[in-house]
Symmetry: C2
Subunit: 201 residues, 2 copies
DNA sequence: CCATCATTTGAGCGATCAATCAACACGCTG
DNA sequence: CAGCGTGTTGATTGATCGCTCAAATGATGG
């Protein structure tokens, strides 16, 4: 029952950090969710911060199975995949009455002076997310202008997602997210249109 | 010396909430900054949350003098004002080694279950920011396509700012902010280009 | 000079926090 | 059965939290 203990702690903490944030989640909160006692937790983790690190590592290692695969099931178009991923965040907003958001984004703004390991793990999570979008943009090939920086554009997609969630959460209205996605869509449409007359050269 | 006391508390709290966040700022932190004692603070504020409310009201009432006027001094072009405002956030990032960001955005993601008054004040702050951008877009007139939703575009500018700051902070690199602004700039350029052949109609 | 009220003082309250640790339970190996 | 290492228990610690309140102080008007 010992390998489960660690895993149970991590997943309980993942939920709670997402629900309440890191600082507002007490060790007691995690313990009461798992029927585990404090001694066991501190047997596996030196401190609360190391639980956070394990959570961030779990997010990092599970981005494919937990996030991308569910969002992309049945979607093959590369640009369609980008907006399908955004739509899965929209669904998340809807199912929580616009109260919760991206766990990494929330942590990134909550922790003002994070430990370096924590900061790097958050950065790694963002980087992997961007990398997945960038792969879609590369796959889209010449549907997008040749001189467009795929990496920068992928970062911009992350920005649109995070900013949209922030506003939707604050206003408790998913329409704020939708309007942001609409603007991004128009941006993509114009890029695709600009890429079309490549033969005119 | 009494009207000053309240004011001093608010401004000290404004600084600290911005530096450390709301939850990580203790009443003792505020007191030690102001040489005020706890009894005085609780004479003016029923509780810590009411200090936050006063801070958010101060931001709301001061958006013009504290934020827009400094950013727009010497800038008259409406679209130029939008990017001048973004540039003032960039300067903020630079002068703090990319550690701090938009105080409203940070609070919006830190507080997961905010009091309704707090949430509405954060929403009001966002709305006022967006309104200022929207006014620029309206002022830009037919430089932007007639069918473009000015309000939605202004919200998208807020998103680009917040998302850019989030990534720059997390990576401790202002280049993430710059690339986002670059994308937004391209978006605006394409909109302006699309608005030009209006006479072709 | 007194009365009144707003303001300030600061020790101290109970609650909660992250973290500790001695004692114990269990499974495995010799 | 003995010895040992891994895992578990849960009462307890000291620090810190937001907040209280009786008493002192200061300012204002009659």
């Amino acid at each position: 029952m010992s390998p489960d203990t660690r895993r149970n702690i991590v997943f309980a903490a993942m939920d709670l950090f997402w629900l309440k944030g890191f600082n507002s989640t007490s060790i007691a909160d995690i313990l009461s969710r798992t029927q585990i006692h404090s001694g066991s937790l501190y047997h596996f983790f030196p401190g609360k911060q190391d639980v956070l690190i394990a959570v961030l590592e779990t997010y990092r290692d599970g981005i494919g199975e937990m996030l991308l695969q569910p969002a992309w099931s049945g979607v093959s178009d590369p640009i369609g995949k980008i907006f399908a991923l955004l739509n899965s965040y929209r669904t998340h907003l809807l199912t929580t009455d616009c109260t919760y958001g991206c766990p990494i984004g929330s942590l990134a703004l909550e922790l003002h002076e994070p430990d370096e390991r924590v900061r790097l793990l958050m950065a790694e999570n963002f980087a992997n997310w961007v990398k997945a979008i960038e792969a879609c943009l590369v796959e889209a090939g010449d549907r997008i202008p040749r001189d467009t920086d795929r990496h920068a554009l992928a970062e911009f997609v992350l920005t649109a997602m995070e900013g949209g969630i922030m506003q939707a959460r604050t206003h408790r209205d998913v329409a704020y997210f939708d309007r942001n996605v609409q603007c991004l869509r128009q941006y993509f449409d114009m890029l695709e249109e600009r890429a079309k007359p490549a033969r005119v050269h």
